[in-house]
Amino acid sequence: MQFDDKVPIYYQIKNYLYHRMVAGELGLGEKLPAVRQLAVDLTVNVNTVQRALREMIDEGYIAPQRGRGNFVTQDATKIATLKQQLTTTYIQDLYGQLHALKLTDAEIIAEIKTYIQQRGDADDQRN
């Protein structure tokens, strides 16, 4: 994983784990790798991983079990809410940028539809 050096690393680790949870790569109740293993995999400091996990425990996304390690929450609505939050964040960003280019709402929706259509066509050609 590549980090943006201008953004606190613990924040980027949290984001990375949020995404994996929403995408289902880390399933409900799944055990997370050990802290040191995560640090090695991501090439970051153990302290930084600990900070990210501590915050995610406080937020309720991760449930620690004494002596057994850290587990993704069993609470499906929690992950569904997270998915909605991430989606809203990306749409806000995209909408803000297109809006700044003076596209109307109808144009924005049309552009997105066209894009998805063209992408689909490209996929079809490849298959």
Partner: protein
Amino acid sequence: MTNAIEITQLNYRKNTKTILTDVNLQLAPGKIVGLLGENGAGKTTLMRLIAGVAKNAKGTIAVHGETREAPRRAFVSFSEALQGFRPADKLSQIRDFYALAYPDFSAKKYLDLITFLQIDDDQKLATLSKGTREKFIIALTLSREAAVYLLDEPFNGIDSMSRKRIISSIIQWKQDSATMVISDHYVSEIAALLDEVVIIKDHTVCAHKSSDQIRSEFGLGIEAFYESIYEGDIHDDEL
């Protein structure tokens, strides 16, 4: 909590040349700290003083509260350049010397490290490439169960694969409570590793910040922050 390293009003001159002036620095246990500065800024000298290898500085240096040089050396594992060894010495002989000289030397850690770093210790010192030599120094330094590790430019002139392995071995084998200081004059590769950054300029510590503070307060990466300080874009009163 006692600081891992506490330096108060340190001044050091060599012959008539000023090397360090009024250095004050406190480092907490468990941190990985980048010691940054141009070549000749005094990074190596500061490490040698902390390690108790260089002597006769004014001021005090305490490692876990210990200010005397000889007992301090027992706490500090310093990546020395293997200067006291003969070119014909085998690496395994150097390992034997370390095991005798340092009671905290762990034979198991050493074996794990040379395996991970892919070093054959049946070789002679003289036959090592620059990269293997650096990796071997790292293996010896991390094999001690020390409270403080001082790594002096461990990435100098080595290929990127060796660099990655050295970084992984640091993450894997540094005990949580140990403090590690890594000096370098360019930082992009280790930026994600550093809890804190200490910058040396004009013979003294001109900035000591947590990495997250740099990112959130200044909106800069570590490398950019370091460059801004050296180029004078960030003034002393902003630090």
